[in-house]
Symmetry: C2
Subunit: 370 residues, 2 copies
DNA sequence: TTGAAAGCGGTACCAC
DNA sequence: GTGGTACCGCTTTCAA
């Protein structure tokens, strides 16, 4: 008679291993391995028995041993733009830092392309050919990547979006500073900052971009919800171009002498600030900007920028990597969207953020003189 | 003649291991191991040669193999108060989450004592007796723990402080929301929120407590630095006692009919809010509070609390654990202080934080009626 | 003071 | 289909 397996189901002193399963069933470790990994060439019956026993013994694979033997380097590819360098470099740093504890089991390949949406498709396809195990991307133009993502999904290669999302695709998840909330925070700040009311302008890149439109929605909703008599004024698309931003800002300021505040919802805030200073309007404008970069520091220090909403690239990178690694390691599915709470950076807490920013404190931080 | 070691210093195809060092030097792996771990019973000369070779080969220990064999569970003790449960539980969660990837190589023992500063000393001494490898504590009364920390340092057992610091001790580092900055942010927010000026009150626990005094310094400095004609009004110590807080708040409001704002710099904000509501003054007060807990949610939603400064216990826990683990693993010394940037939580971004807060959305969040 | 060798828990290959 | 076993890189023990 075979031994009564039930008495073996009691948890032993130390965690059950593959050998314990094999012994309890009177099979070899090889068989157990094949069963656990759904490898070909095993009797379905045997497989079922092994799985049941593994379950009842509470078997958890020892990852140290697994990695030690198989040396299976998980390789993941990270494709991000070069511009704006500081932001994307921070994101890369966040990914690198989060990946460090898993080295050398996890290898991260960074690849860059010039600007958001320009040249990411070929990189994606190359990564698929190279047999990457997972991807982190910032889809500037989701439509163009749609088929790539589908292809990856078919091969069970997870894709995580950062900063921007590719909605309605099979990407595993998207990590971002929820744009609606970011816009809403800007709106609430300006409402509170301007209790006597007035009109505020909204600068953005392209209203056709999902994220930018969401920011506007959040911003407007927040202004409406506030009790103050503050209202949404002109909405300006500057297409993330400094010269266009400067030109449009100047024009805007001339056309609207009563403007009380401005929210620049993309990183393109410097031209707007310079235009406002040029026009001598800074004193009477409350300005909220987006993200944090060396040239902005001086403006914040001087109180010319009331607050900037920092999208925390480091944290986004960390969360994206962890979600991807978890999925690759044990199939854990992250929630469909991971929202990072934006930081409200002002003069009083600016220094805390500069520590993590590769900022040259000398000179760079002075606001340019008109 | 021994082989010329220099040609071996070139990085090989795959990472150098302990055997590579042994082979290059013509010694055994046992010797290499003893040298690398400063174990007793090895010729200093041999040791030096091994270390040099390890260096030049760029040797990095294979952690998988190390853990697989030695099963050396690092055990660390985390001692935190029970009250206020929600805050400290979040901190514990942050530690737990950060430790999870290292399981089972790292085991975390949580121990609790009733309130900050009450009963932490015996726990500390017990942990030392039990042979813990490291500690995370929240020193409510640094003076009492001073000798404990010294004892730990002598045995090379790292101690990390969270939330509160024990300055001038040998603790490895302290993770906290830098109190000066937190106070300064509150001051800047109130200055901006109240452009027409006036006086604002400052509620705290004990001015004798380092952190609380720092918050006041930051707060006042920020008010002074702002251009607005806003000034520091009454400073109230409520000793973190709800009844005392309520009583003092009522009295304060009666004595200062012109008060424009209040900053409650400890978690003891509910009584102050209730007093203000009772006195019918909420409409004309801009209130900034500290931390986030279920009972506060309704007040924020209703716009009665303009903002609350959240000290991000999850992040503090994560950073503390990582710093401790890094130190235990490869001796990496963290900076003497790790500052967490506090989050500015307002109506518009509240939901992002509630997701991580064990909050019952039903009923609990309504502000209590008088 | 040093060397040799036995595992740690899985994986992968070969033989049956 | 299944069993047996060498081996991943390191630690630890025992013998020299």
């Amino acid at each position: 008679m075979s031994t009564d397996s039930r008495q073996l189901t009691a948890p032993p002193g130390r965690p059950a291993g593959i050998k314990d399963i094999a012994k309890a069933l009177g099979v070899s470790t090889g068989t157990v391995d094949r069963a656990l990994h759904a490898k070909p060439g095993i009797n379905p019956m045997t497989r079922a028995r092994v799985l049941r026993m593994a379950e009842s013994l509470g078997y958890r694979p020892n990852l140290a041993a697994r990695y030690l033997k198989s040396r299976k380097h998980l390789r993941i590819s990270v494709h991000l733009p070069q511009e704006i360098a500081l932001f994307w470099d921070s994101l890369r740093d966040g990914i690198r830092d989060a990946a460090a504890p898993f080295a050398p089991a996890l290898q991260v390949d960074f690849r860059s392309y010039p600007r958001l949406g320009e040249g990411d498709t070929p990189l994606f396809e190359q990564a698929l050919r190279d047999g990457t195990n997972g991807l982190i991307i910032a889809p500037g133009n989701p439509a163009k990547l749609r088929s790539c993502i589908r292809k990856a999904a078919r091969r069970d290669i997870p894709v995580i979006c950062v900063v921007t999302d590719a909605p309605d695709t099979q990407r595993l998840t998207a990590v971002s500073a929820d744009p609606f909330t970011v816009g809403a925070v800007a709106g609430e700040l300006l409402s509170r900052y301007l209790p006597s009311g007035g009109r505020v302008a909204f600068f953005t890149g392209w209203l056709g971009t999902h994220d930018h439109a969401e920011k506007l929605r959040g911003f407007e909703g927040s202004l409406d919800a506030s009790r103050g008599p503050i209202h949404l004024g002109p909405v300006v698309e500057a297409h993330d171009d400094p010269r266009e931003g400067y030109r449009r800002a100047l024009k805007l300021l001339r056309a609207h002498r009563d403007l009380k505040g401005i929210y620049v919802s993309t990183v393109n805030s410097l031209p707007v600030l310079q235009a406002a200073e040029q026009a001598g309007r800074l004193q009477n404008l409350t300005i909220v900007t987006t993200d944090l970069f060396p040239e902005l520091v001086g403006w914040i220090r001087a109180g010319k920028v009331a607050a900037t909403l920092y999208q925390r690239p480091l944290t986004q990178g960390r969360l994206a990597l962890l979600a991807l690694y978890q999925y690759l390691l044990d199939g854990t599915c992250p929630p469909p969207r991971i929202a990072v709470a934006p930081h409200v950076v002002m003069r009083s807490n600016l220094n805390l953020f500069l520590e993590r920013l590769p900022v040259d404190e000398e000179g760079v931080n002075r606001p340019r003189q008109g």
